[in-house]
Symmetry: C2
Subunit: 403 residues, 2 copies
């Protein structure tokens, strides 16, 4: 594949956050616009769920520290690494040393650096389908061969539904790296203890490196059990765990992420970071001090509020004939399957934006076969989100196929 073809695949027009670029001319518009507060479900709304209290003060304090905070080691300031080593040890329930951590510009930065540190052209990488839209693009950028591993997320809510036979076959075929998100983005599925245990066992057997994106692992809903792969007794040697304060904690605007893993891989990631962006923003790194030190009740409240929105919009979607939806186990996403329409999914997304002033992400961003799915990030103002889902359903009915 030459560089022109590569960048043709690497489209961003329909990626979350890029919806401002959508051109709405030449659409088959049916009926009048449906009024309501605009909602952008492509990402969380940090106005509805503001950043951790005190985060801005920490930034100002970092700025005032001057040169020392502006120019940290590439992997991050010693102070932040030391703080994170304590907090992540408590969170994962395994010992995390400073040398096992790198601070990156967002978790996207951590994903890029980990894939870039492990994959050479032609290497095979196993990727879950559906999963975070960038996983596939990263693999393509590094000229890796993708082996998809399917997840039957609509069948059984006690597990993610990952096809472990397929995973094993991918390893058998020579996959060097397995990359997945838990909770899964876009479906909100959480992997069961049994699944994580089997993933660990197979990866160990085949000596595969695992990258697990646990960005949403602090937002697990009632009665769901979350399992950190890195804390499993049978955990393979090479596991990179990615986490960050951009989601539930709403610190996205500071661009902070973290990767945790074996020293050898973290060292490589630091070398790569040196030529990619030097370091995570220096002053922002000072903000990490409020992460895992939120005011009492902050996280519990946030989870409760998100659970309320989830329950309402899942019920709304469930009431629509032909719609299938899994109720989110963790994180802020739902990924409903919608019935046949008279327009394709990309056009439907544009029409929803035009008629209802609601932004959703087309399923095709998460795997080319998801032509009947849309993803919503429901970290929004609750009333506005519920009203917006009603408008989506109204638009859906206008375009439902009569065939």
């Amino acid at each position: 594949m030459n560089i022109n073809e590569k960048f043709k695949l690497l489209g961003v027009e329909n990626a979350p956050g890029q919806e401002g670029c959508i051109n709405s001319s030449n659409l088959d518009i049916r009926g009048l616009k449906i009024p309501g507060i605009p909602v952008d479900f492509s990402h969380g709304d940090v106005d509805a769920f503001p950043p951790i209290p005190g985060s801005l003060d920490l930034f100002v304090h970092g700025f005032q520290k001057g040169s020392k905070q502006a120019y940290t080691k590439y992997r991050g300031s010693s102070e932040s690494l030391s703080y994170l080593s304590e907090k992540l040890t408590a969170f994962f329930h395994i010992k995390i040393c400073e040398e096992n951590i790198i601070i990156t510009p967002g978790t996207q930065g951590a994903l890029f650096l980990s894939v870039g540190s492990l994959i050479s052209p032609g290497d095979k990488i196993a990727i879950v389908s559906p999963d975070y839209f960038a996983n596939q693009k990263l693999a393509e950028f590094f000229d890796a061969e993708i082996i998809p591993v399917h997840m039957e997320y609509l069948t059984d809510c006690q597990k993610s539904g990952i096809n472990l036979e397929e995973l094993k076959m991918a390893f058998e075929k020579g996959a060097k790296v397995f990359l997945f998100s838990n909770p899964n983005n876009p479906t909100g599925a959480v992997y069961s203890f049994q699944e994580i245990s089997e993933i660990a066992a197979i990866a160990k057997q085949y000596d595969v490196t695992i990258i697990v994106d646990e960005l949403y692992s602090r937002q697990i809903f009632k009665e769901k059990i979350y399992t950190h792969l890195c804390a499993m007794k049978n955990c393979p040697e090479n596991v990179i765990t990615i986490i960050g304060p951009s989601k539930t904690e709403s610190l996205s605007g500071f661009r902070l992420g973290v990767a945790v893993g074996p020293r050898s891989i973290i060292n490589r990631m630091e070398k790569l970071q040196a030529i990619v962006s030097l370091r995570a923003p220096g002053y922002s790194q000072a903000v990490l001090k409020c992460w895992f030190s939120e005011p009492r009740g902050f996280m519990e409240n946030r989870i409760k509020q998100h659970q309320f929105i989830r329950d309402n919009i899942v019920d709304l979607f469930k009431s629509v004939p032909g719609v299938s939806i899994r109720s989110t186990d963790g994180g802020s996403y739902v990924f409903p399957t919608i019935p046949d329409l008279d327009v394709d999914i990309l056009t439907f997304v544009k029409i929803v934006k035009y008629l209802a002033d609601v932004t959703v992400t087309p399923g095709t961003e998460f795997g080319r076969q998801y032509v009947h799915s849309i993803r919503l990030n429901f970290s929004q103002n609750p009333d506005a989100a519920i009203a917006a889902v009603k408008r989506i359903i109204e638009v859906l009915e206008r375009y439902r196929s009569k065939k």
Copy 2:
């Protein structure tokens, strides 16, 4: 080259900013420590030259704008792009539209994205020697074949001394991209109008894409004329110009950079940014509003102050037998050549740190042949910098070879 070999080449131990990692045991220490205020010449000191007044207020204002500022388009917020298009048009003296700009996490981010958008494995890239340490590492990471183009920077201060015959030969041999910094890092040399004009002409003739890193182009010293390649009448079609507010303006802690170029390449860079780090830090982007809008006299003063430090440390180095140095035309670097020592350059750098508490960057970071050079970023407290150079010279004399 497999990925292990690749990352062995991608060392960061001696890179600027990483000196905290140096191990000083087993050194041949001669004489007592020389007391003085510690100086870190590996990067500028934003305590000595603080950020543009009002930059923190703009950040706070950005934070208060909330979601809109946290989640910008990948290429940057419309507001910032519009502002930059006006300011960069005035600065470069050619029309720069919003669609020709991308905001990146530091100029390092802009360099990475531009090389990553243009180079495939096996492509040939022409790189000046000496030049910014990351240029070569970027080329190696993307498996490009490097064709070095030498610069005789010590001969004639009216020009950079780039060997234009070699450049032409590199293009003749099939180089697809030419990457260089102007003012040159590490030497501080500014390319003459004649040189830039010839570079433009040859690149046009061979249809080569140019990436020019103009990070220091706002800090040009008295009587020196600076030429923006992108504003030349004979400028080739594909020129990427990189600039940012991290140096003279001391905004490095916010992690902001900018690339300007043809729409086709900027679009690619945005696609790549989507998987590398999503976007430059959202709140930080609001800070761009003080760049090119500094208080009256701010830039003039800064240049004058840096010129004062430059004059003093260049005179000090010139007074040492066996030292050659070019006086900086633009930017904050000097790159003196030092005489034969009893220790190699990497050891010397460690000894200077140990005996004099002064950090300098070994010349080998800028090309493996620069075993007699050190780089200093003299954007420091003037008195401390001058005293620190005296200590470097004292250490140098203790290790001067008697052979």
